[in-house]
Amino acid sequence: MLLTIEINEQQVSAKRGETILTVLNRIGVKVPTLCYLSSLSPTGACRMCVVEVEGLPHLVPACSHQVEEWMQIHTHSPRVLKARKNIVELLLANHPDDCLYCDRNGTCELQGLSEELQIRERKYISRQKPVQIDKACPSIQRDPAKCVLCGRCSRVCKEIIGVAAIDSVGRGSNTRIGTSYNRGLNFNACVKCGQCIIACPTGALTERKSLPQVIEALGDPGLYPVVQFSPTVPAAIAEEFGLKSNKDILNLLRYALKRIGFRQSFDISLASDINLTEEAAIFLERLQGNKNLPMFTSCCPAWVRYIDIFHPQFSPKLSPVKSPQQIMGTLIKKYITSSAGIKPEKVFVVSVMPCTAKKAEAEYDSEGIRPVDAVITVRELVRLIGLLGIDFDKLEPEPNDTAFNMSSSSGRLFGISGGHLEGLMRSINFLSTGQDLNPGKINELRGLKPRKEAKIRINKIPLNVIAVSGLANAIELMDEIENGRDNIHIVEVMACVNGCINGGGMKIGSDEKNLKARMKALYDADEEEMVKVAHKNPVLTELYEKFLSKPNSPGNQEILWKGNSKSQEL
């Protein structure tokens, strides 16, 4: 139902039930927000978006107040501006003045608000209590001093991820975002997905930096630094440096990595192919024995940790195969470089990932020679490129320098929710029929949807498969399964909504346009690639002959299965 309201003396029509903010955004009137995120329920906590509504005694928050017929709204009246400015001044009173040294310098929303409202002096002076930075977790670091208590992190954690590892504790000015029993982030239910970092407007939540370690390794003449990257990285880098999509981004990236000082660079997709080959064989075995179905994919470490903590009864259903990152690290150290005569302990493997959970995954899989020595996020790579003064405009694409960069497009699809499953269906079909799945492109599993279900007939057997992203959505599915839903064969879960293209290590402030571009890059690569099934990757044939045993065999279990990783602190 349409109704008429007046905004800044202009008549505007609005729908009943809409919030004032929705209407303002539509007509292009910008009011500042802080605690508001379109994907979360509005709480009206920060009061930045307050507007004046004639007839109401107090200012009202645009984000959570619904429009009413003939409301007369003033969005930038002197009263409103004074209030907004005062609120930011209050926040700044407790905020450390260390913008120059802050991880979010330049991308901080508080900085932006302060500039927007033209705050030029510290109006209130208060003594700050010293607070300890929480560095317990290998993935995420919390600096409570910089927290403005907008609650975005805790709402993401609760509403999108469904874990609620952090929440407000204490009252009044002693309120803070805390962990259970006030212990470090590593000692609670946190799955380390890093979505809280993306949600944080300030530098209160950041990834644990591995960059110093990487820089040191790059300068160590005794080491042989190599890099492996997730298939989502090229598109993210292109976006960050404004590269045109017609450029050979993958090879430009390779060149940049070489300039940084990495001796070799690998696309992790090769390991994804191995993962698919193994999983296809394991699934067929499970299907035959009707055991541990539905099979859950295990490429997302946040999801694996979620199962460990919340649903240990489901862990036999997880695919036992290690994630592509860990497989690739193993492959590099134990086969690729050692074949070239380099000792594994000299090899320093760096992963570039759109993910923070991968940092913990690498950290905890460190028995003997650890497969991956350091994991950096896309954000960290961008900084490294900046630090080393690499100008993409002047770079020439670096041709593929090693055979081990061959991968099928299935492997690359791992970057988006549904992609792993799509590749897996192709492999299962190929393994059971010796033929390509037709059509190879499974439209039901594509696109930006939280849950995608498909029915696929393979070798005359109809299989129900589901790809779900955003842990909270997975939790709903888990409940269905616990309540007796038993017609599913494979479930792919990605902790972040839409998968790795929206990972916790990606650019802060990504919007839907960015997501769509990253998705398109992966789907386009699938279109262009000749080898669409993991099993057809010629490098795999070599690897299975020379290094691995046949898929799903005891020999491979030792190298490719999870099991010996250190248990994560609880």
Partner: protein, 649 residues
């Protein structure tokens, strides 16, 4: 009582009393009711007020002493524990009723005075200074030379409807409540009226919420009734947390069935089958009493399935609040009940449309609900006849602070504050002058004596910038420092802020910082500390206005009230603190400068020994001196001096 008797009395009270629609009883019924109500006693009855205020004053020891007295003297007497009649400063209250004679009330009967009092009654001498008065009981012999209780100053201006039974009946006796006319309104309601009619009656009575907001109760119910929903909830808010307010506790402890009846009627009116009483967990006594009362009501069939065969079902549960002040705010209360952190939510949607777990929910406070049975019993016109144009009925207040008499009272709307203070409260203690009256809890305002002739009325109060609030009334004497008081309330509020919205969380803290700056001893008057102090003062008022304007819930919106009202009426006191660095009342310790009067100092040396700062010098037997630059103003010397030689400015 034997089981047979119990069933018998239950049947009698249900069938013959509650269900007697006319209210006219035959002689045997009237007689039996008088016995149940203890109006007609065959042997002496001793009543002791064992509400929380009584217990604090030593009522349990008095009770023990009385029990001992009765057994030692082989008396055949009943001892009944009752709640408080409101006169808390007179606790422990002890009433005695002898057969054929009117009931007597004695004040401050501590353990050591119990025997005196009882002797004086049983020997009919009444020679003691503790007699408060006698009850008006037509048909019984009056005690000579004893004033009627209703005529003594504490009671004579009160109109007691909600407090009708307070301190008179046993709170855990449903029989006494029914015998006094209780649960009749519920019976009338569920059998005779459709739900919307009840909403209409309450709306006609013009009853407004008593928790502070003053929203018309009937209208609130109607909104919830008209909102579609298969499950609705009725909640009684007994999370009373204002410092100096204890009306809710008093009603629960003295007449719990009145609340249960009011709550049941309200639940019926909005179409709810679930009701919750949210009580703060520190009210242990109230919790026990409510549990007992609910159990009794269930046994009488007044709660549960198909009440009075009307098809109306209701179950009431009691839930404990963890003691956060903000949980008295209705949306925070809902969050707390849902098991969430007790944080307020943005309104609209109002709870009446979307409340607990998304269901339509009405939240009324204890006093509001306690009004309901009376309105249904006597009709809306009766209720409307009391009070003023904009405010009807009576209002409970808890009187605290520097008054001669303190406790809780029920007065008709429209009465002036000055008559409450001068007559009921008996004026200011120790003959001091009245400085102000603090009204409405921590986020209330301080009214100066000049405005005390304002009638008790929602409109008149907002005319002078005050709010009725929940009913806390604190009397402040001349020795009160208004800056310190404002600081106390701001400190309370900033501690109790839930921390959700920025203006309340950060703003109240900054206000506290500024007030602390004003009352703190300056370390160095020449540094920028002085500048900051002045800067803070300039900001105080504008910051207060922004907090009012932008905070999420009522707590924040009203949080600056104590500062704003003090600034309005007692500005010169703030200025004195800021510019002269002086606290006239001598309350702000840091601002005191101590001197030694050489005339009185005999050089006893004690102050010098006790001074933690070594700020006092002097030889024994010679007058001492204070080194001003070393003195921190702690006042220890002042306290230890036996010769009143130390004074401060």
């Amino acid at each position: 009582m034997p089981t047979q008797d119990l069933t018998d009395i239950r049947t009698f009270l249900t069938e013959k009393v509650i269900k007697n629609y006319s209210g006219i009883f035959d002689k045997p019924t009237t007689d039996r009711l008088a016995v149940i109500r203890h109006e007609k006693v065959s042997r002496p009855v001793i009543y002791i007020g064992t509400g929380t205020c009584g217990v604090i004053s030593g009522a349990l020891s008095t009770l023990e002493r009385v029990q001992k007295y009765v057994s030692e003297n082989n008396l055949k007497a009943d001892i009944i524990e009752v709640g408080c009649n409101g006169f808390c400063s007179a606790e422990p209250l002890l009433d005695v009723q002898l057969p054929g004679k009117t009931r007597l009330c004695f004040r401050n009967v501590t353990e050591d005075r119990a025997e005196d009092v009882l002797n004086s009654v049983f020997h009919h001498t009444l020679q003691n200074d503790l007699t408060l008065g006698q009850y008006k009981q037509p048909g019984l012999e009056e005690w000579p030379n004893v004033p009627m209780l209703e005529q003594i100053p504490w009671f004579n201006l009160q109109t007691r409807h909600i407090l009708k039974n307070a301190g008179i009946i046993s709170p855990v006796s449903i029989e006494e409540y029914i015998a006094g006319g209780g649960y009749k309104s519920l019976y009338k309601t569920v059998l005779n009226y459709p739900a919307d009619k009840i909403c209409e009656i309450i709306e006609q009575s013009e009853l407004k919420g008593r928790a502070g907001g003053g929203f018309p109760t009937g209208r609130k119910w109607k909104i919830a009734l008209d909102t579609a929903g298969d499950q609705k909830y009725m909640i009684c808010n007994a999370d009373e947390s204002d410092p100096g307010a204890f009306m809710d506790r008093a009603i629960i402890e003295s007449d719990p069935h009145r609340i249960i009846e009011g709550l049941s009627i309200a639940a019926y009116a909005i179409g709810a089958s679930q009701a919750i009483i949210f009580v703060r967990s520190d009210y242990e006594n109230s919790l026990n009493i409510l549990e007992t009362a609910i159990r009794q009501a269930k046994e009488y069939g007044l709660l549960g399935e198909d009440i009075f065969g009307s098809g109306f079902n209701l179950s009431i549960s009691v839930r404990q609040g963890a003691g956060a002040f903000v949980c008295g705010e209705e949306t925070a209360l809902i969050s707390s009940l849902e098991g969430q952190r007790g944080l307020p939510r943005s309104k609209p949607p109002y709870p009446a449309e979307k409340g607990i777990w998304g269901h339509p929910t009405v939240i009324n406070n204890v006093e509001t609900l306690a009004n309901i049975p009376g309105i249904l019993e006597n009709g809306p016109a009766w209720f409307k006849a009391m009070g003023t144009k904009s405010s009807k009925g009576t209002k409970l207040f808890s009187l605290a602070g520097k008054a001669v008499n303190t406790g809780f009272i029920e007065v008709p709307m429209g009465i002036t504050f000055s008559s409450i203070i001068n007559n009921i409260a008996g004026g200011v203690k120790d003959g001091k002058a009245l400085k102000a009256v603090q009204l409405g809890g921590p986020s209330g305002v301080c009214i100066p004596p000049a405005d005390l002739d304002t009638p008790l009325d929602f409109e008149a109060l907002s005319g002078i910038g005050a709010k009725l609030g929940s009913g806390g009334l604190i009397i402040l004497d001349e020795k009160t420092c208004m800056v310190n008081l404002a600081k106390y309330f701001i400190d309370f509020l900033q501690n109790e802020s839930c921390g959700k919205c920025i203006p309340c969380r950060e703003g109240t803290k900054k206000m506290l910082d500024i007030l602390e700056g004003i009352t703190r001893r300056p370390k160095e008057e020449t540094t920028h500390e002085t500048l900051e102090r002045f800067k803070g003062v300039v900001q105080l008022e504008s910051l207060a206005n922004v907090i009012c304007d932008t905070s999420l819930c009522g707590l924040g919106q009203n949080a600056p009230n104590p500062v704003l009202s003090s600034l309005k009426w007692f500005r010169e006191e703030f200025e004195e603190h800021i510019f002269d660095r002086r606290c006239a009342a001598g309350v702000c310790h840091d601002l005191r400068t101590f001197y030694i009067d050489v005339e009185h100092c005999n050089g006893c040396n004690i102050c010098q020994k006790k001074c933690p700062e070594n700020a006092i010098v002097g030889s024994p037997k010679m007058p001492h001196f204070i080194i001003e630059s070393k003195c921190t103003g702690c006042g220890i010397c002042f306290d230890v001096c036996k010769f009143s030689a130390i004074y401060f400015k």
